[in-house]
Symmetry: C2
Subunit: 351 residues, 2 copies
DNA sequence: CTGAAAGCGCTTACAG
DNA sequence: CTGAAAGCGCTTACAG
């Protein structure tokens, strides 16, 4: 490693470069920033000196002076009890796609994992650390969402070069600038493909209550499409407190007990994976006896038994929408929808 | 939103707070930083004024002056052709656990996704943006690893408060400070559990070449344990160019063609998932006819057909080791190993 | 315990 | 096209 072969020395500044190149410090700054007013010859001399000294601009100073940061802050809300392996991979994927979208816009991403029971902080713009903020979470992070909701109301001044924009995934508050999957369309798509494949007695498996806004919307899409097709809706309500997988297993039991259901639209993939697990354990033929459609597009669905048909939100679009909304703002006061598509796999008969 | 209810005004500085609290700017700085030399009464007055003005320290200025950043830079190497959904989730999980480990140490994480065919940059410490650097990638990101390898050699000066530490996951260069799974132990564990379950003709499925250091180590562990138990090793070499899943499918075909193999230790979970997919498609009984063990601990393995036994690296430990190595440095010049454990699921007969 | 002042390392009017 | 100077908003010796 380099530092062993040479004695440490202080990091060079633009003054050192100026001295070596025989120009003023301001010229160094301009030359390195690509100012068009600098001669090619001068620029070359400066660049050579900078390379020679291994000089790099100190971004703290540059940003302090400039007033901007070229950075997007991303807060990921996690449940305190989650480990990397038990956490819902959906949020990890969403984080990843936000980072990708930010990179496309030449923005670095300042990521902070926060949980409902720990310190919350989202004032990165006000602290000069970012030009915008994206918050990713599930509506169950109640305290965190209240915190961010209040933050929106509190911000009483604007930074010179930014308007302190923010965008949110998973907020239960309608008056925050949210980005969400087009859940209702997803619900409709599920019913559409299931009926096209010949299923008629299609149940929705999910929570009945109003805890999860996203689930409610999926359910509404399901109801609307069922009504449009003159089919009677059925609800398989699951216990709120168990894991998604166990909720799915219980839903499968309920469907089998009912005896007259031939397909299920399940609120999310993790739950649907639980459904499949129970159904295959019991020897029920999927998709023959019962067709199953999930929601999320989880990778695990490609290898389940059988592979899971699902409604997949366009994650790349989601990342881009969040970043754009956070940096540019959006016209509408509230939210924007991420498109979804139906992914056909073998948990549904071919149409 | 707040900005609608009040006219925008410039962000307050410590001078504004000082003015309102009737003290000097230095006192504001000290009071807010928690300096013990400030009276309780003074501190309260300052805090009240700061709250009143909604003042927050500008971190750019504070860090410029202080010389540190409280930030860890994390570079994630991605393949240019990958999308969020096609990318190996292992790296997303690892990124997540690095962020968690950093948060535990009160560090923010500056995340940058970079790919072999795009701009590479890892000089965050030199630019005053971070106190340390973690790079996560696969050995296949050849150009990127060469870049970071050279960077280590180039750094010819030290920052005043940091030594420009870095730690790497996935580097093919032995002389960089790497963190890796304990692959050899993983290979041994796989063989151990397979033989304990009564399997005798255990093949290794993976690449034969030396492309993937990690795979080579897993193979070596397998070979060593097989030798210790007096069993004859078998290699099922896979085609380098197809997808992991297809490599797995081909390996399954090869095993079936051979006819005398009763178990497989597969180089990684994605490949093992391909093995399972083909085996179940062909009606082969797993674990009855053939036992399968993968490597990685991928979430999808919990729902595959049958659920996949696997060697799981401790991801939380991996994140912590990377962060610690990057910030504190480590004693040894080269690397440290992340512990692995055997996760028993139904792709192996119960012992 | 508090204040006046220097200075971190840049960018950018302002002159010439 | 280039330079001298101001200033971004802090922290921290140095005095008292």
């Amino acid at each position: 490693m380099g530092r062993m072969t040479q004695s440490p020395r202080k990091r060079p500044t633009s003054f050192d470069v100026a001295h070596l190149a025989g120009v003023s410090q301001s010229t160094v700054s301009r030359a390195l920033a690509g100012s068009p007013s600098i001669t090619e010859a001068t620029r070359n001399r400066v660049m050579a000196a900078a390379a020679e000294l291994d000089y790099l601009v100190d971004e703290r100073a540059a940003r302090l002076r400039r007033g901007t940061t070229s950075t997007l802050a991303v807060v990921v809300l996690r449940r305190p009890e989650d480990t990397v392996r038990s956490a819902n991979p959906f949020y990890q994927e969403l984080l990843y796609s936000v980072c990708e979208a930010a990179a496309t816009r030449q923005l670095d991403t300042l990521v902070s994992l926060q949980s409902d029971d720990g310190d919350l902080s989202g004032r990165y713009v006000e602290q000069g650390q970012a030009d915008g903020l994206v918050v990713i979470g599930s509506p169950t992070n109640v305290r965190a969402w209240e915190y961010f909701h209040e933050l929106e109301a509190d911000t009483s001044y604007d930074s010179p070069d930014t308007i302190g924009h923010a965008a949110y995934w998973g907020t239960p508050h309608e008056d925050m600038r949210w980005v969400r999957a087009d859940n209702a369309t997803g619900g409709r798509l599920a019913v559409r493909h299931l009926t096209d494949a010949g299923y008629r007695s299609i149940a929705y498996a999910g929570s009945d209550g109003n805890v999860q806004q996203q689930f409610r919307e999926r359910h509404e899409g399901y109801l609307a499409e069922m009504a449009d097709r003159g089919l009677a809706p059925r609800m398989i309500a699951v216990d709120q407190d168990s894991s998604r997988e166990d909720q799915g297993r219980a839903a499968a039991d309920a469907v089998l007990a009912a005896g007259d259901v031939d397909a299920m639209f399940v609120a999310c993939d993790r739950m649907a994976l639980g459904v499949l697990d129970r159904l295959s354990g019991l020897g029920t033929n999927v998709p023959g006896d019962i067709g199953v459609v999930g929601f999320d597009g989880m990778g695990a669905g490609r290898f389940s038994n059988p592979p899971l048909s699902t409604i997949e939100p366009d994650l790349a679009a989601a990342g881009k929408m969040l970043v754009d909304a956070a940096i540019d703002g959006v016209a509408q006061a509230d939210g924007v929808r991420v498109p979804v598509r139906y992914v056909a796999r073998s948990s549904v008969r071919s149409e």
